[in-house]
């Protein structure tokens, strides 16, 4: 009987165990639901919004929140709720793809630099240092201003900007793992470099990479919002939370709702993803002090 119980616990599906851990931490759970809510609104947004996000209706401009327009209307009479929901789509896609790009390239470059070491490592890390010597926002502004700002260029810039950070993290983990006995054993067994990297090194890098990916998503949202605010994000008529805030600033006193809802969305999403990221760190990297 006793063995049965142990076995049952043992075969408990992995997702259930993770779910229990998530539930144990209140902040992570809040963050989790926030992220799900925003992702959901990004996916099904176009189906549920009551109005077209670009439809102008001058007669209905600057209306305070009501049953018809639950977040009110802006200076062109556009429905703020529809615009905020559609804005979640562009921010999630741009920040998500940008972070994914940074993680993929950072992983590959970091693996190469860390595993091979030597001159190659020196050259790669020097280049990364050069990239990091230009303040991120400044680099993004220069590139977007010179080459023009579009959906794709913002993704590329955000992705490119965070490659050095991910590379550094991956490289430092690889440097640590490289010295372990199991790597030595695999080499002695005559395993190929490909096998060692994929089967021995990568699984140990993945937890760090997952935490780093979530952090990159946080900072990518931060960057997309800031660029949008400066007018260098996605171009109108596509709604962008940052740009909505900067556009609404002259109406701050008369129609605070135009500025409040996009700004609150940025704040809630950023804080929510930060909470999830922190939960991931606690779950996946339990050893580190900064994790608790």
């Amino acid at each position: 009987m006793a063995t049965m119980q142990i076995n049952q616990e043992y075969i408990q599906p992995k997702y259930l165990a993770i779910w229990k851990k998530v539930r144990r931490n209140l902040l992570t759970t809040i963050g989790f639901f926030v992220v799900v809510l925003f992702l959901l609104s990004a996916v099904v947004g176009p189906l549920v919004v009551p109005y077209d996000y670009a439809e102008q209706n001058i007669e209905q401009r600057l209306q305070s929140p009501s049953v018809d327009h639950i977040f009110g209307t802006d200076e062109f009479g556009r429905d703020v709720f529809s615009r905020v929901v559609m804005g979640s789509r562009s921010v999630c896609v741009i920040a998500g793809t940008g972070a994914a790009l940074a993680v993929i390239f950072g992983l590959v470059i970091g693996l190469i630099a860390g595993y091979w070491g030597g001159l190659l490592d020196d050259v790669i890390m020097r280049l990364m240092e050069v990239m990091m010597s230009i303040p991120g926002l400044l680099l993004a502004m220069l590139v977007l201003f010179s080459l023009g700002s579009s959906f794709y260029s913002v993704i590329l810039v955000v992705g490119f900007m965070y490659i050095p950070v991910v590379t550094r993290v991956v490289r430092s983990v690889v440097l640590d793992i490289k010295t372990r006995a199991f790597i030595e054993a695999a080499k002695l067994r005559g395993e190929s470099i490909r096998y060692i990297l994929m089967r021995e090194v990568l699984p140990n890098v993945l937890p760090h990479l997952a935490v780093e990916a979530s952090m990159r998503f946080v900072y990518a949202i931060f960057m997309v919002a800031s660029l949008g605010f400066l007018g260098l994000g996605v171009q109108p008529p596509t709604p962008d939370w940052g740009f909505m805030v900067s556009e609404a600033r002259p109406f701050y006193n008369n129609a605070p709702w135009i500025i409040f809802f996009p700004a609150a969305s940025i704040a809630i999403l950023v804080v929510g993803v930060s909470f999830v990221s922190d939960g991931l760190r606690k779950m996946l990297l339990p050893g580190g002090v900064s994790s608790d």
């Binding site: 902040l27 020097r126 240092e129 050069v130 990091m132 010597s133 230009i134 303040p135 991120g136 926002l137 400044l138 502004m141 220069l142 590139v143 201003f145 010179s146 080459l147 023009g148 946080v218 900072y219 949202i221 931060f222 919002a225 800031s226 605010f229 400066l230 940052g242 805030v245 900067s246 500025i259 700004a263 940025i266 704040a267 950023v270 804080v271 930060s274 909470f275 922190d278 580190g288 002090v289 900064s290 608790d292």
Partner: protein, 314 residues
């Protein structure tokens, strides 16, 4: 120590050189032709061709870069394409204003971040730690313009303590400017505060676990003395690196804060340059920002070497 300083200084010069190459290259792609911009849209083809020749715009890329770089190092930063005034004094007066803002930002988040981090480490897992870590986590990646929107209603409209607009006269003294600096500085500092607090907390917890701190306690030294004399010296080493690594984010944050509050600093000058396609102005502002970031890293390296003798012999 001398060789350590020289080596760091040398590698930073190389980095600044490569970064200047990147910035010069990117700005070559700016929309619009410089000669056309200077002469206006009614200029004749011939006048434009002459000016292109005069500005060296027909030269190969590396010659243009060398011309620009040599002039730049000598302090000749060219004239603004819009106002026709020399760029150097313009940038310097804005740099002074941004430096005043940076001083207030640093004075806000470095001491408070360290204090909160140490406090959280000492009260680890108790409620002060929970509150400090949660709140600092919330502000770490909150865009500056969003946190400003929280601060302005609170401090300007509700409490009425501080002005919401920081468009001071460009040559105001630090004392005159201070009331206008506090709110933008808080907005920028909030991002870095959580980061510093978190790293200080981790560093302090690490050090408090070590044998030498235990030995100091067992020797009968008072808690305060163990903390200040023994633990903090090592616990703050990672914090210094973090502050330097965060400098890039701080520069970006200050740029946004200057725009939000209308403060006449370097960031707004850069944005103004971009809006007017003022190439020399954009290049100068960007290079100053890069130089500042590298300087911050150099200072951090030196402090690190000073506090941690082990690094010098490596």
């Amino acid at each position: 120590m001398a060789t350590y300083i020289l080596r760091r200084f040398g590698s930073i010069l190389v980095i600044v050189f490569l970064a200047s190459l990147i910035i010069f290259s990117i700005t070559q792609f700016l929309p619009g032709d410089v000669a056309q911009l200077v002469l206006g849209q009614f200029a004749t083809e011939e006048a434009i061709a002459n000016l292109r020749e005069e500005y060296g715009l027909n030269n190969p890329f590396y010659i243009q870069y060398l011309d620009w770089a040599v002039n730049f190092v000598q302090g000749d930063w060219g004239n603004s394409l819009v106002s026709r005034m020399p760029v150097f004094p313009m940038v310097m007066s804005r740099l002074r204003n941004s430096a005043m803002l940076a001083v207030v930002v640093l004075m806000l988040y470095v001491p408070f971040g360290i204090l909160l981090g140490v406090l959280a480490a000492l009260k680890r897992d108790k409620w002060p730690d929970q509150i400090i870590t949660t709140i600092s986590m919330m502000f770490v990646a909150l865009p500056v313009f969003v946190s400003s929107l929280l601060l302005i209603p609170l401090f300007c409209h509700f409490l009425g303590w501080l002005p919401a607009n920081s468009s001071i006269l460009p040559d105001s003294t630090f004392g005159e400017a201070l009331p206008y600096l506090i709110l933008p500085a808080i907005a920028v500092a909030l991002n870095s505060l959580g980061y510093v607090a978190r790293m200080t907390r981790a560093g302090t917890i690490d050090v408090l676990r070590t044998d030498y701190v235990r030995a100091a306690y067992l020797k009968g030294l008072p808690r305060r003395q163990v903390l200040v004399r023994h633990a903090l010296r090592n616990a703050l080493l990672p914090t210094i690196t973090i502050i330097a690594m965060d400098a890039g984010m701080m520069i970006g944050g200050m740029l946004v804060a200057e725009v939000v509050f209308g403060y006449p600093g370097l960031g707004r000058l850069l944005l103004y340059g971009m809006q007017n396609q003022d190439l020399p102005l954009i290049q100068a502002c960007s290079m100053v920002a890069v130089a500042l970031l590298c300087l911050a890293n150099l200072i951090a390296d030196l402090l690190y070497g000073l506090l941690n003798p082990r690094i010098r012999v490596k």
